[in-house]
């Protein structure tokens, strides 16, 4: 309940969030010293205003050419028992001037964890990442994507779980029991960037009659063999990526209705690290609605260190992304090539430039992104991001976004 987003309430109060989290952490079994404990809580976080400018005219009346929003995240953490036990609570919230679906809050983390010898246990809300490639994160399945935060899909919603991990001589095993499903977030009819037909989250449908209460299960084995890092994963439960079916909402308007299927999938991820070259592959085999299909992504990352006798590094990334369902998969990356560059100045301000493009080899659609970031002083961090969708034919799944090119500026103040 605590982790359900309340997108309707625009008046977000961080103070209320902090109070909620403190109550939550105090309610967990803390053995004796609850008083000392609260004194030991470390608090950190950031607050980050954001401006967005869209270069093309909107295609819906509620949409606009610019947007302002502000986000904040606070981390409360406390460790005891020689750091073998800890509690972390991390609420996140955003208020958006135009998009009420983008105004939302979430508990990114709210977990108790304990290490006992070679074993580690976690219970609560947490985030887990699987995978090695940079452009698409195909096998990363534990957490739902918080799509309103970023179209690149890298922002995630907190996932309730019970996790058991053990590291042995023959590798690391992680087991996850996922008792509650989180629906993907989508912008409202007023939000941008967005699909031309808005997604109606409220009418989401499920294959399982248990809907979001279906208990999912996942496991992962990983190990390192000299230059090779290898992982094997298994997941069964509710797909994180819904199928979007056109339909009518309660007021009779055309909307896209998310349908969450039950899936079983196995995945593999491999990285070979050979001096300045990284070779990466990740792939999955999934069974969904009676059909089996395969998705994979692989490529290289090469870094030129100290270019032109400066401290600067230039990294080059090239990856190929494949989906054997082809172009009608709803997944925009079915036969695509990504090429990117990362230029790190390695200066005091950690100035970094990231530029990349994904080209669809079937439709020739091209999406470009450029990110620039640096620190200002000790506590401020500035990020500028530009995204462009060009040459996108109607047949391409990204066509909907092709009138949503934007420039985004974020300035975070850390505390």
């Amino acid at each position: 309940m605590a982790y359900q987003s309340y997108s309707d309430n625009k008046a977000l109060s961080l103070a209320a969030l902090m109070a909620t989290s403190l109550t939550l952490s105090a309610a967990l079994p803390l053995q004796a010293y609850a008083d000392d404990f609260l004194e030991e809580v470390e608090i950190s976080g950031y607050i980050e205003p954001e401006l967005r400018f869209f270069s093309q005219s909107p295609n819906r009346p509620g949409q606009d050419a610019n947007d302002f929003s502000i986000a904040g995240e606070v981390t409360f953490e406390t460790f005891w028992d020689d750091s073998d036990q800890w509690i972390v609570v991390k609420p996140f919230a955003r208020w958006d001037m135009r998009d009420h679906e983008r105004s939302h809050w979430d508990l990114r983390e709210a977990k108790y964890a304990r290490v006992m010898g070679d074993w580690e246990f976690r219970i609560g809300i947490d985030k887990v990442f699987w995978g090695v490639t940079e452009a698409a994160h195909l096998i990363d399945i534990i957490n739902q994507t918080d799509l309103v935060e970023s179209v690149d899909g890298e922002e995630k919603l907190g996932q309730p779980m019970v996790q058991v991990s053990t590291t042995q001589d023959f590798g690391t095993f992680d087991f996850y029991l996922l008792p509650y499903f989180r629906e993907r977030t989508y912008p409202s009819a007023d939000g941008r960037p967005a699909t031309d037909i808005p997604v109606d989250e409220a009418s989401a449908q499920y294959e399982s009659s248990q809907e979001e209460r279906h208990i999912d299960f996942a496991a992962r084995y990983s190990n390192t063999f000299e230059d090779w890092d290898v992982g094997l994963g298994y997941f069964q439960g509710t797909a994180r990526d819904p199928i979007l079916n056109p339909g009518l909402n309660s007021s009779g308007q055309l909307v896209l209705i998310p349908y969450y299927a039950q899936i079983k999938q196995v995945s593999v991820d491999v990285q070979a690290t050979k001096e300045a070259w990284l070779y990466k592959f990740e792939g999955l085999m999934r069974n969904q609605l009676g059909a089996n299909y395969f998705q994979a992504s692989g490529g290289i990352e090469y870094t030129l260190y100290g270019i032109f006798d400066t401290p600067e590094d230039l990294g080059i990334i090239a990856e190929y992304i494949w989906d054997d369902r082809g172009e009608d998969s709803g997944n925009p990356f079915s036969n695509d090539v990504f090429a990117g560059m990362r230029w790190a100045l390695n200066d005091e301000a950690s100035t970094t430039l990231l530029g990349g493009g994904i080209i669809d080899l079937d439709t020739a659609a091209l999406s470009l992104s450029l990110e620039a970031e640096r620190r200002l002083g000790d506590d401020y961090f500035v990020t500028i991001e530009a995204r462009m969708f060009t040459n996108t034919p109607q047949s391409d799944p990204l066509f909907s976004y092709s009138d949503d090119d934007f420039l985004q500026l974020r300035v975070a103040k850390y505390f």
């Binding site: 995978g131 590291t167 690290t273 100290g306 390695n346 005091e348 950690s350 620190r375 000790d378």
Partner: protein, 283 residues
């Protein structure tokens, strides 16, 4: 040993030594203070290696250590910025392999929680993983970036990696006074690939066998940086650690000062505290 040898000396040799004793009291006292058994100046390579070996052996058996580090970066205009990190180190008992360490970044705040796990090797590339807390992602990274700046500072990654004996070849240059002490001046040349240095010159004192100063020469053999070690403190009655390190870059005018505190040794760290899962929960 020097006094023993005198018994068998001829009268003339005795006179010469007496004269030298008067003329060069410093170098003689240096020779007397150094550890017994060092090869003499006629074999500078052997003498250099023996000095480095002695210095290395003084650190054997520390098992593990934990310490906090504050870095102050100063640019050419005198403006400063700060970094705070925590270091965990596990001694590798295998003399043919390097130590393990885990570095956790606390400041600047935007990188809080980022951590770096390194299994150092002698001549082969180190194994290195980085944990990015915002994505909860552990990423194996290339360790060929030896000469790159560490967190934008004047310290390169290779300046932070474990100073394993086998990483360099050594050549003794001379003995000379260094402050109130006497130092062996030894040139060391990296044997591993991708170093940013052609050579380093180190001043190791003849009583505790600790580095007091180092000079770094860039790939064009120009003097690049000087590192001064001060505020040495003795831990567990055996292990010396400099608590203040000052690096000056002569080519850019920038500098970085490291201040170590809360050193703790033999804290019971084990291999499992240096796993990829441990990297994710490091604090």
């Amino acid at each position: 040993m020097a006094t023993k040898a005198l018994n068998f000396c001829s009268y003339t040799l005795g006179l010469i030594i007496a004269a030298l004793t008067l003329a060069l009291p410093l170098s003689i006292s240096a020779a007397l203070a150094e550890v017994p058994g060092l090869p003499d100046a006629s074999d500078p390579d052997a003498r250099g290696l023996a000095i480095a070996t002695e210095s290395d052996s003084r650190d054997h058996g520390f098992k593990d250590s934990q310490a906090n580090l504050k870095m102050i970066l100063t640019n050419a205009y005198g403006e400063t910025s700060e970094r705070e990190l925590r270091f965990l180190t596990l001694e590798n008992v295998d003399p043919n392999d390097g130590d393990w360490n885990l570095i956790v970044f606390d400041r600047p705040r935007d990188v809080k929680g980022t951590s770096l796990l390194t299994y150092a090797h002698i001549l082969e590339a180190d194994d290195q993983w980085m944990y990015l807390p915002a994505l909860k992602r552990v990423k194996r990274i290339s360790s060929t970036n030896k000469s790159g700046p560490f967190m934008g500072s004047e310290f390169a990654f290779e300046d932070f990696s474990a100073q394993e004996l086998g990483k360099y070849s050594y050549k003794w240059l001379r003995d000379e006074p260094c402050g109130e002490r006497t130092c062996h001046v030894v040139e060391q040349t990296p044997q591993y690939e991708n170093s940013g240095y052609t050579r380093q010159i180190g001043w190791t004192d003849t009583t505790d066998y600790q580095l007091r100063k180092s000079e770094f020469y860039d790939r064009k053999n120009q003097l690049l940086k000087t590192l001064e070690f001060t505020d040495y403190q003795l831990h567990l009655d055996k292990y010396w650690r400099a608590h203040n390190l000052k690096m000056t870059n002569h080519q850019t005018g920038k500098g970085t000062t490291l201040t170590w505190d809360s050193y703790a040794f033999q804290t019971g760290l084990e291999e499992k505290d240096f796993s990829k899962n441990a990297l994710k929960r490091a604090r």
